[in-house]
């Protein structure tokens, strides 16, 4: 009886500082890398700049997280590579921007409450439009090529071209300026009296982005960890077949996850639109590179990995962007290559690719 009461797979307790440090690096590579990056940056610049860049990096990370979370789940769960994801980001940006322009009266009021009457519909519209397109896209374009990665790459690249061209048709070929709602412009000024970071101006929008990103991360984590749907998703990432054997129609789950992922991409795009205040149909292409780096860095199928990956990408973009702007993109990709050499499955691997 006692023979099979024992548990296997329990790690022995490490002793000594060096051993503990190594264990920390092994068990929590994402935190380790994050702290390492922040520490190195702190050494290379003055504290006030560091605070500014870190907040901006976190803001960018939050928005990229929104865009990337859909793709990592889609790939982790459905084993579908959707290279049209960038087009969904662009579409969300344009949809959100259109609503903001349409409701520009409410958006230009200084009161936050009135602004919300423009912001919430804009974000909501972006969510819905991108989600609907996701639904149509999955049924029409993706479903016939399940299981064939090569064909998936081909048709989603083609689909991306078509969607971006349609954006040109509807909104014209030029870039469109996006009015940021009045209450979200400007910055909080930290009082000079504060030590080290006193006098730093924290942009309001960036703080909001961080808060929103954390909130959605929290919501997604709650859904994945606590709800039945979350259990299904995690099980499906491990084995689609066994989920079907249990009696669940995993195809419906796929569709739901794809739609949710597309909607989130659209939301991220809309947030980005208000951040950059200018959008083009091809913005999705550039952001896709960051998304790809994030999901590979973080580990496919892992929401937590996606979040940490996004934060790392946001930070490195901002840090290197300040220290040596010409190398920002190279540094981001270099980070991905470096992590891949260290951890071929990503920082928090969920599925074995």
């Amino acid at each position: 009886m006692s023979a099979h009461d024992e548990m296997i797979g329990q790690p022995a307790r490490p002793r000594g500082v060096l051993a503990r440090f190594a264990a920390f690096r092994e068990d929590k590579p994402h935190v380790f890398l994050l702290l390492l990056m922040m520490a190195v940056a702190l050494v290379l610049m003055d504290p006030r700049t560091w605070v500014l860049l870190t907040i901006s990096g976190l803001a960018m990370g939050a928005m990229v997280f929104l865009m990337a979370s859909g793709m990592t789940l889609t790939f982790g769960l459905m084993n579908v590579l959707n290279l049209a994801h960038g087009a969904f980001i662009s579409l969300g940006a344009f949809a959100g921007a259109s609503v903001l322009v349409w409701l520009s009266r409410q958006a230009s009021e200084p009161s936050l409450l009135i602004n919300l009457a423009a912001i919430l519909p804009a974000l909501g519209f972006a969510l819905v439009v991108a989600g609907l397109l996701g639904l149509v896209f999955e049924r029409l374009v993706i479903k016939p090529v399940y299981g064939d990665h090569l064909k998936q790459i081909l048709v989603t690249v083609g689909g991306s071209i078509i969607i971006m061209e349609l954006i040109h048709v509807v909104w014209g070929p030029n870039e469109i300026p996006v009015p940021r709602p009045e209450a979200l412009t400007g910055a909080f000024l930290l009082p000079d009296a504060l030590p080290v970071i006193g006098g730093v101006a924290l942009e309001k929008y960036r703080l909001i982005a961080v808060v929103l990103g954390l909130a959605i991360y929290g919501l997604m984590t709650w859904i994945i960890e606590r709800t039945r749907v979350g259990i299904l998703i995690r099980a499906g990432v491990e084995s689609r077949e066994m989920v079907e054997v249990q009696g669940y129609r995993i195809r419906l789950l796929f569709l739901g996850v794809f739609v949710a992922g597309s909607a989130l991409a659209g939301l991220g795009g809309a947030m980005w639109a208000m951040y950059r205040e200018i959008i083009t149909a091809h913005m999705g292409d550039e952001l896709m590179i960051s998304v790809i780096v994030v999901i590979i860095l973080g580990g496919l199928g892992s929401i937590k990995g996606c979040f940490y990956g996004a934060v790392l990408v946001g930070l490195i973009n901002l840090y290197v962007g300040y220290l040596e702007p010409r190398l920002a993109a190279v540094a981001t990709v270099g980070l991905m290559v470096g992590v891949l050499m260290w951890r071929p499955q990503g920082l928090i691997p969920v599925i074995k690719v």
Binding site: L154, I161, A329
Partner: protein, 401 residues
């Protein structure tokens, strides 16, 4: 006897379809005699592009069609070749020496980078690889665009090639007559007199260094194509195809698949670099948009797939069809909407600027319904016709193996 000679030249890999053979001969003749069949700068430029991109797409097919390696870094290698020549002639003057220094440097860089990619493919699985190449290519593009002082940034570099390959050089003074087939046919219909149409179709060609450059490109393009044909029909090529069908089985048979895959990537990269060199010399201007752009990468993918993956002949057909379409589809669409209301939905959808929309649609539809591309489809039809001729009676019941 002639058959034997063809067998050796084509390495036993025949077109296997009469329609395809006709098409290939047509393309071949048009390219060989192009400057003397199609007047005008636009046509001449396009001929050169077709020759260059046949190399690009055929080398891409080696990876995609024969080994099922999806890479988005092909434009990166193309750009390395183009910028290599551009930068070295910028730095060392316009002699042939500078050109060869550029070629050498570019090839070294390409080999190193493709080795790195091959190494990465060791660590990550196939589907990661495609994404990783996309990111790496983007990083390279960003680097080139940012290092304005060396690469000219977004403005690019003008390529001052050797004088012998430029418009000022005259190998011989007399003018060579050319005959424009298109103008002749159009003339027959509009003027009714064959003799008159004939006279109108004749034009004069002042042979200069650019024609020399064109024929060098044509020759290299032909040589590369035949080389690739030889390669895919060799034992090496057969291992690649075995890896394509079932990598695990190939490994079980004792092949070190990583080496073969990396070799395919390196060969492909070096050929793309070579194409980039030719591009720089022919086009005389390189910038990030015409060499490293993601859109260009997608075009290469389109040309390879539409022509027919894994056939090599598909590269020839796909390139020709695509570049023709890209050039003249816009004219066609412009004609279509010339009578429509500007700003109307029809004008927006069918306008010449939206040619990519329709092309993208055609591409997606072809992946679903004609996955084997033009060449594959022509071969399929030819095979069916042969089967029908061989067994006109009812088809025999299939035996279970």
């Amino acid at each position: 006897m002639l058959n034997g000679m063809f067998n050796r030249i084509l390495s036993g890999d025949y077109p296997r379809s009469r329609a395809l053979s006709v098409l290939l001969v047509l393309i071949g003749v048009c390219l060989a005699l192009g400057p003397f069949l199609f007047p005008g700068v636009r046509a001449f430029s396009m001929l050169g592009m077709i020759c260059v991109f046949i190399i690009v797409v055929a080398s891409y097919d080696l990876m995609l069609g024969y080994t099922h390696i999806v890479s988005f870094a092909h434009t990166m290698f193309f750009g390395i070749g183009a910028y290599g020549v551009a930068m070295s002639t910028d730095a060392f003057g316009s002699g042939f020496g500078a050109v060869f220094i550029g070629i050498g440097g570019a090839i070294v860089m390409s080999v190193l980078l493709s080795l790195l990619l091959g190494l990465l493919s060791l660590r990550v699985k196939a589907i990661f690889f495609a994404l990783v190449t996309l990111a790496v290519a983007f990083a390279f593009l960003s680097l080139v665009t940012q290092l304005y002082n060396i690469t000219g940034g977004e403005d690019g570099l003008a390529v001052r090639g050797p004088r012998e390959l430029g418009p000022a050089f005259r190998p011989f003074d007399s003018k060579v007559p050319g005959f424009s087939v298109v103008d002749f046919i159009a003339g027959v219909f509009t003027q009714g007199s064959i003799g008159q149409a004939f006279n109108d179709a004749v034009f004069e060609v002042r042979v200069n260094g650019r024609h020399l450059m064109y024929y060098i490109t044509f020759a290299i393009s032909l040589a590369v194509f035949l080389f690739l044909l030889r390669m895919v029909n060799s034992p090496f090529g057969r291992v690649l195809q075995a890896i394509r069908e079932n990598e695990f089985r190939a490994q079980a048979l004792g092949y070190r698949t990583v080496f073969y895959r990396t070799a395919a990537v390196i060969v492909s990269a070096v050929l793309a670099t070579l194409a980039g060199v030719l591009f720089a010399l022919i086009n005389r201007y390189v910038n990030p948009e015409n060499t490293l752009n993601f859109e260009l990468m997608v075009f290469i993918l389109l040309m390879c797939v539409i022509g027919g993956m894994g056939t090599l002949y598909g590269a020839v057909v796909g390139t020709a069809v695509f570049l023709l379409a890209q050039n003249y589809l816009q004219d066609l669409l412009g004609l279509l909407v010339s009578n429509a209301e500007p700003g109307s939905l029809f004008a927006e959808l069918a306008g010449p600027d939206r040619w990519l929309l329709w092309f993208g649609l055609l591409f997606v539809l072809s992946v679903y319904f004609f996955p084997s591309g033009i060449v594959g489809q022509l071969r399929l039809w030819a095979e069916r016709r042969r089967e029908r001729k061989a067994a006109p009676a009812a088809s025999p019941l299939k035996q279970e193996s």
